[in-house]
């Protein structure tokens, strides 16, 4: 909308405000991208024996068997437990601390170096200690998922809180909003896009942490299944678990994107 007829009263009716909708070409590209991945995988698998790389078809058959037997739903159900708890604890730390870091330069100056230092260490490096502190089972896995999520979320949420346009804070102050009102009515909504991105990144990291924990602590659920399959040289079995993980990640990401579209109708989309 470039020009703008004034003197408001006798304006000709305007067409309804266009609503951004996901265009179908984008959906087609999305499908094409996944399909290309499958085709490349299939072509690669054709020239080698099944135990080096099983083709998508045998993995699909294997997965179907796991679903029918009820094995997969049962394992997933158990794995989701430590994943969600670890993620929730990480969010409970990262959201308030991230806001503090973003808005209070002193807090940031104290915490940011630590975050940067820890981020370089792969979380599995902590597993020996986590085993000593939290044991080999549920608590240990939760701790690892927590560690794998928390730093990434902190960085994104702090960046979002820092990024809020100071002119918008001025609007709040100019209209007499107090600290709490400015937080609730300006800061929180203004950093919501980053907050949701932080949650999305955190959840994907949590899926990552889910399987890492099941492989590096006492092997259970999906991790145990994957290890056993690897010991049998059953590549379809191993790949089935990997496919389950990547599908879980995809579903979570798409779900959160849909949520973003609902919660953030004001962000400009292309």
């Amino acid at each position: 909308m470039s020009s703008d007829s004034m003197a408001g009263r006798h304006r000709p009716p305007r067409p309804a405000i266009p609503r951004a909708r996901r265009a179908s070409p984008r959906f087609l590209l999305y499908a094409a991208s996944l399909l290309t991945g499958l085709v490349v995988w299939d072509l690669a698998a054709r020239n080698v024996s099944d135990f080096i790389l099983a083709p998508p078809t045998s993995v699909l058959a294997h997965l179907a068997g796991m679903v029918v037997s009820g094995e997969l739903p049962a394992m997933l159900g158990q794995s989701v437990g430590h994943m969600l708890l670890g993620f929730a604890l990480a969010a409970a730390v990262a959201v308030p601390l991230g806001f503090l870091m973003g808005r209070e330069p002193r807090v940031n100056a104290m915490i940011d170096p630590l975050v940067s230092a820890f981020m370089a260490i792969p979380a599995v490096g902590f597993v020996p200690f986590l085993i000593i502190w939290f044991g080999l089972f549920f608590e240990g896995r939760v701790a690892l998922v927590f560690l794998m999520c928390v730093f990434d979320m902190l960085v994104v949420i702090a960046a979002g809180a820092r990024d809020v346009d100071p002119r918008l804070s001025d609007v709040g102050r100019a209209f007499g909003a107090g600290r709490w009102q400015r937080f609730r009515m300006i800061l929180l909504p203004a950093s919501l896009p980053f907050l949701l991105t932080g949650v999305r990144i955190g959840l994907v990291r949590a899926v990552n942490g889910l399987i890492t924990a099941e492989l590096f602590f006492a092997a259970v659920n999906l991790g145990a299944y994957m290890k056993a399959a690897a010991n049998r040289f059953d590549s379809a079995g191993v790949l089935s678990i990997l496919v389950v993980l990547s599908l879980t990640g995809l579903v979570i990401q798409e779900g959160l994107r849909a949520l973003e579209h609902r919660l953030l109708p004001w962000t400009v989309r292309h």
Binding site: M1, M6, L168, D170, A174, M185, P189, T267
Partner: protein
């Protein structure tokens, strides 16, 4: 003058640059504004008149002096009877046009039904009834600023502070907005401080024009504007209007030249 609505006493402000040097922007500025008076603060860009406005509003702390509204000291206290219209409208992008107009009332704790009634009425008066559910990014610059003006009027402020509100708009839209602002103001007269660098804009809108020097800002001369109200756009071509325009232009040029030399 006990009847002044707004009294500004001895305001000075010096900013510190990043390299540690001092940059004085305002030196011992005082002025008095009568109730329902429309005063334009006219001066070159960056001279410090916007800073004065932000000090009156309480967004920027002053180094010296004080600001009195109805005899009450409001120095450094934002939201005390002043409504602000910002240069680039600065609407909250996650709120619809209606939600933005409601903002100030919501801060004051006014109930939803009341604030929607007030806000809808104001949107109607700025001609945006059909756009109450539109988000700022769906509105043109002129429409955004109309929402910004409605937002300031919504809290029924004692004083309306306008910081180059039409500076970012194209010429045609700016002219239209001036007409619209006068219509609104003549319906509901407020005390207005209007910062601008447009001579014609100041002459057309204001009862009194205060011409500022380049930084540090001080008042070079005050002009009482004699044109009757309601004002018509035709006055812009009257000989007296053109003469005042020429005189102020000369004044601003003369004040600029020593800085160039």
């Amino acid at each position: 003058m006990p009847h002044s609505k707004l009294i500004i006493e001895d305001i000075s402000k010096t900013f510190r640059r990043d390299d540690g040097t001092q940059m004085p922007v305002l030196l011992n500025q005082s002025m008095e504004v009568a109730d329902r008076e429309f005063v334009a603060l006219l001066g070159p860009s960056g001279c410090g008149k916007s800073t004065l406005l932000r000090i009156i509003n309480g967004l920027v702390a002053t180094d010296t002096g004080r600001v009195l509204l109805n005899g009450k000291d409001i120095t450094g206290r934002p939201g005390e009877g002043c409504g602000m219209v910002f240069q680039s409208s600065d609407l909250l992008p996650w709120r619809t046009a209606l939600g933005n107009v409601e903002f100030g009332l919501e801060v004051q704790g006014v109930g939803k039904a009341d604030r929607q009634r007030v806000s809808r009425d104001l949107l109607r008066r700025v001609g945006l009834t059909e756009f109450e559910h539109a988000y700022p990014h769906q509105l043109s610059g002129g429409m955004q600023q109309r929402v910004g003006i409605a937002r300031a009027f919504a809290i029924n402020p004692e004083v309306l502070l306008m910081d180059e509100p039409f500076g970012a708009l194209d010429v045609q839209t700016r002219d239209d907005m001036q007409v619209e602002l006068l219509r609104l103001w003549e319906d509901n007269q407020k005390t207005v401080l209007f910062v601008t660098h447009g001579i014609e804009e100041a002459l057309y809108l204001a009862d009194r024009v205060m011409v500022f020097s380049p930084r540090p800002a001080r008042v070079l001369k005050v002009f009482d504007i004699p044109f009757p109200r309601p004002r018509r756009e035709e006055i812009k071509t009257e000989p007296l209007f053109l003469e005042m325009r020429r005189e102020i232009g000369g004044l601003l040029r003369a004040s600029r030249e020593p800085a160039l030399a």
